[in-house]
C-alpha cells in the first residue's frame, strides 16, 4: 500500500482547483489513497448550484493583457477530474465543518462527490501518515 496524500483545498478559483484535481487524480491513479478537505472559497465552489460555473482565476493570472485560461486546452473541467479520480481510486472528499457554518450551508447543498462533513481532527486522523498539501 502506498503512502496516502492529503490535500487541503482553500482557494476557489478554477485554475487552482484544476491543479488540485490533477494532483488528486494522478496520486489516485498511482495507487495512493487521497484525503481531501475542502474549506472556505473552495467549498463555495463545490456547492451543487455553483460547481459548473466560472470561478475565475487566481490573482497571479489576472494581469493586464493576460489571456490565460484556467487550464490547458484539452483538459476536463476540474469537477469532472475529481469525479473520475473518485471512480478510479481511493479518494475521500470531505467538507470542513467550520467552513460549512461560515458559508451557512449544509451537505445537501454540496455536490454529491463530497462524501461527508468533518472537523480538523478527523481529517488529521486519516492524513497523519502522509504529506499535507495546501492549495
Amino acid at each position: 500500500m502506498s503512502d496516502p496524500i492529503a490535500l487541503v483545498l482553500f482557494s476557489g478559483t478554477d485554475d487552482k482547483l484544476h491543479a488540485a484535481a490533477t494532483i488528486a487524480a494522478g496520486a489516485s491513479a498511482m495507487g495512493r489513497p487521497v484525503n481531501i478537505l475542502v474549506q472556505f472559497w473552495a467549498l463555495d465552489a463545490f456547492r451543487a448550484d455553483r460547481i459548473g460555473q466560472d470561478h475565475g482565476l487566481a490573482s497571479d493570472a489576472i494581469r493586464p493583457g493576460s489571456t490565460m485560461t484556467a487550464a490547458p486546452a484539452g483538459s476536463l473541467p476540474w469537477a469532472e477530474t475529481f469525479r473520475q479520480a473518485k471512480e478510479l481510486g481511493d479518494v475521500q472528499i470531505r467538507a470542513c465543518s467550520a467552513s460549512m457554518s461560515f458559508l451557512g450551508i449544509d451537505q445537501s447543498q454540496l455536490d454529491p462527490m463530497v462524501d461527508d462533513v468533518c472537523g480538523i481532527a478527523t481529517f488529521f486522523l486519516d492524513a497523519e501518515t502522509g504529506p499535507v498539501v495546501f492549495i
Partner: protein, 91 residues
C-alpha cells in the same frame, strides 16, 4: 524497488493485437492516464491495451503508472501527431 520491463521492438509492437484502443488524443494530462486506467478495467489479465495520446508526456507517465501498479509497459509507436502506447494488463 521498481523494475521496468524492457520495451518491445517496433516490429513486435506493430504485431501486437490490442484488446482495446483508448483514444485520448487531444486530452491534456491527466486525461490520458485516467482513460488508460479506465480502459484497463475492461480487459482481462494478460491482454494488451493501446492508448493513443497527442501529449508527448503520456508515454513516460503510462510507463511510470504501469510499473507502479503492476502492469507491463511494452513501449510506444509514433503515429501522425500522436503516439500509440502499449500496456499489458498484469493484475
Amino acid at each position: 524497488m521498481i523494475t521496468m520491463t524492457t520495451p518491445l521492438s517496433d516490429i513486435d509492437l506493430s504485431a501486437l493485437e490490442s484488446a482495446k484502443v483508448v483514444d485520448a488524443r487531444g486530452s491534456a494530462c491527466p486525461g490520458p492516464l485516467l482513460e488508460a486506467k479506465k480502459g484497463m478495467g475492461t480487459v482481462q489479465i494478460g491482454q494488451v491495451i493501446e492508448i493513443w495520446s497527442s501529449d508527448p508526456a503520456t508515454k513516460n507517465d503510462i510507463g511510470a503508472w504501469s510499473t507502479k501498479v503492476g502492469h507491463a509497459f511494452l513501449g510506444y509507436l509514433p503515429g501522425e501527431g500522436y503516439e500509440r502506447v502499449f500496456v499489458r494488463r498484469g493484475k
